[in-house]
């Protein structure tokens, strides 16, 4: 039988989003990072372009986390109380492409920090590192609606990636991104229709489509990962098929999900059958991330420096050309 490769022809491609702005562009970053732009499924360079490699962020908090696993201590303990130093360590020492700052301290049920305090932390991190920055709120909508507009303002022009906009609560953060030229994370609960709908709503407020990154909502390995995986595959096929409202790059909070689960945290003494805890946890995070890369994830948010290292190597390998001669 005659041999012919099977190459798909897609009608469209993923939009490109530029994170960060250099001095010339009105910000203070040393460089920008572009995500998206794929014109084929993940890493299938034999039939399309992957102009920008997926990137990996490390997650930091504005307050010292009380319940992070002790296996993080050797890496972060000395910087938990110093957000700027924490950010610097992630970039300089661990090689994060960028940093995600979670404004956990704003949580009304926690430290209840004021919008001004939060904005100051953002400034501190912007001064500490020169990579583009992702900033997300504490997750409590009302408070985030007070905090994020101020964050957007103090970081005006930096082209942050800010989050999150949800179907029930997107207006205030979208407006803030519009005014101060930031990018926005649009989060939908593993539902492709809500995902599209939210993008339409945001776009109706006049935020450009190439300023939006989709958070399709993911779960950890073993805790519903496959649902997010399949939604992402469908969204990406939709994007390639020409649906502009699904054509944004995707982001996933891998570290946040993984470090909640027992398999990451339980000690070997407690579960001898599961093997050594830290490596198991690193691989729980890595496996979640690597699986999601295969579904089209463009920005991975991780926590463990070793997971970051392994995931980045995996991306390096997958970015090697696989074009057939």
């Amino acid at each position: 039988m005659a041999f012919n490769l099977h190459k798909e022809k897609y009608r469209s491609k993923v939009s490109e989003v530029v994170l960060g702005a250099t001095k010339e562009e009105g910000g203070t970053r040393s460089h920008t990072l572009t995500v998206g732009g794929e014109s084929t499924l993940p890493f299938l360079q034999f039939e399309g372009d992957i102009p920008n490699r997926p990137i990996a962020a490390l997650e930091i908090w504005d307050v010292a986390p009380e319940d992070w696993n002790p296996c993080f201590d050797p890496y972060y303990k000395d910087v938990y109380d110093n957000t700027g130093a924490w950010a610097r360590k992630c970039v300089d020492e661990f090689g994060a492409d960028l940093v995600l700052l979670r404004l956990k301290g704003a949580d009304p049920d926690g430290k209840d920090r004021s919008p001004e305090e939060c904005a100051n932390t953002v400034k501190e991190v912007l001064e500490a590192v020169s990579v583009p920055l992702i900033v997300i709120g504490c997750g409590k909508g009302e408070k985030d609606n007070q905090v994020m507009p101020l964050v957007a303002e103090v970081a005006s022009g930096e082209k942050l990636l800010m989050g999150v906009a949800e179907q029930e609560n997107y207006k205030s953060i979208t407006a803030a991104c519009m005014v101060h030229k930031h990018n926005l994370i649009a989060q939908s609960p593993i539902d492709i229709n809500i995902c599209k709908q939210l993008n339409i709503l945001i776009n109706e407020m006049n935020l450009d489509l190439n300023k939006i990154v989709i958070d399709p909502t993911i779960a950890a390995l073993g805790y519903g990962l496959e649902y997010g995986y399949s939604i992402m595959e469908r969204a990406r096929l939709g994007a390639l098929g020409g649906d502009r409202m699904l054509a944004m790059p995707m982001i996933g909070n891998v570290g946040y999900e993984v470090w909640r689960v027992k398999e990451a945290n339980a000690s070997e003494e407690e579960f001898p059958g599961w093997g050594q805890q830290e490596e198991r946890a690193i691989l729980w995070e890595t496996t979640t991330a690597v699986a999601l890369l295969q579904a089209g994830m463009d920005i991975l948010v991780l926590r463990h420096p070793k997971a970051l290292e392994v995931v980045k190597k995996n991306i390096d390998e997958l970015m090697e050309s696989n074009k057939y001669e």
């Binding site: 039988m1 041999f3 012919n4 490769l5 099977h6 890493f43 299938l44 360079q45 034999f46 609960p189 390995l221 073993g222 805790y223 519903g224 990962l225 496959e226 649902y227 995986y229 399949s230 595959e233 469908r234 096929l237 909640r260 027992k262 398999e263 945290n265 339980a266 059958g273 599961w274 093997g275 050594q276 805890q277 490596e279 198991r280 690193i282 691989l283 729980w284 890595t286 496996t287 690597v290 699986a291 890369l293 295969q294 070793k306 392994v310 995931v311 190597k313 995996n314 390998e317 997958l318 970015m319 090697e320 050309s321 696989n322 057939y324």
Partner: protein, 443 residues
Amino acid sequence: MGLTGLEIFKQLPRTNCKDCGSPTCLAFAMALANGKASLDKCPHVTDEARENLDSASAPPIKLIKVGTGDQTVELGDETELFRHDKKFYHPTAVAILVSDQEDVEAKVNQIKELEFERVGLKFITDMVVVKNDSGDADTYKAAVEKAAALTDKALVLMAEDTGVMAKALEVAAGRKPLVYAATAENYEAMTALAKDKGCPLAVRGKGLEDTAALVEKVAALGYKELVVDTGERETSKVLADLTQVRRLAVKKRFRPLGYPTIAFTSKEDPLEEAAQATVYLSKYAGVVVMKTAEKQHILPLLSWRQNLFTDPQKPIQVEAKMYGVGDVNENSPLYITTNFSLTYYIVEGEVEASKVPSYIIAVNTDGISVLTAWAAGKLTGESIAAAMKKAEVEEKLAHKKVVIPGHVAVLSGSVEESTGGWEVLVGPREAAGIPKYAKANFA
């Protein structure tokens, strides 16, 4: 898919004798193409035509069996490129490599310990690959014999030298191992060996096209119990090849690649190796061969396999009813959760770990998790109260306290109301907090 009516028609006798029940050969061909008739109805087809047509109607990826007994591994027979289109049927076999130059007994025993219980399921690795690194036939035979004696898992015999392979098959052929591999250099003898012993055979080429050509040569020798290895070892090229093989088989019915695939990790660092294996498992490998046999390296991969191969249409559920964990009595605490099997088993495990005998009611949420069910209106004060009533809690328990999941603390009031005054206790958010919670409240 498959052949068109016209293509089938060309293979028929074209006499329009009507013995098949169709008015004409063409009508019969059309019925065949639409899956509305079976070829046996025509008594006049030639053997050659039958073979052509059978192979055209065969599944796009051949089902290949390796091993014997309960540990038989079934590979291939997939029909989809994406799990959301229907589902994936035959989970990628995870195989662990043992060299004939290492302590075979130690490694095989280590492999046997890779057994995990999770969410009510047992996760295991499927195959042991015994590799001929020594170059010596007797050493290899002894290693294979030892491995075969130590485990019932399906075996893969990995030796390029047909003399070495022949010797190992003397002791292992009965186990129906996968014979690895027929190559351009040895395929005639290797195919003869595998065929003679009735063992499945891996065919390794140099790249996709070369592999397809080699498979055709092997098939021409009359053997089709095959597994395909395109010979690539770099992550991105393997991904490309696995994707092409799957697409060509499923979308083009390209027969020379209509077999399950086998992929080998090349990374030495076990964490990088596990990441590489995750790529291959996600994207279509029939078998993935790993070197590490440490529990912490294998459990994540096996968990991902379980996730990926579940039916996306039907969440796995447990029966919606009240379960007793441990030696329960009328004073035992009562927990509420959902009947999503993942959620239920996590909670059950923690309740068990709390060492306080307890009841758990799995509320019927159509098999979805706590927050999903809450957001979908399936876990409500009323549905919880109804489930409690059905479980006859008032008759079985001497107290009126019920623990609800921390994530749905907002339901407290409505549960209290719907149950007519039960005391509602809000448990921790994550089930992992249950042992501590039980100790504080029920010990």
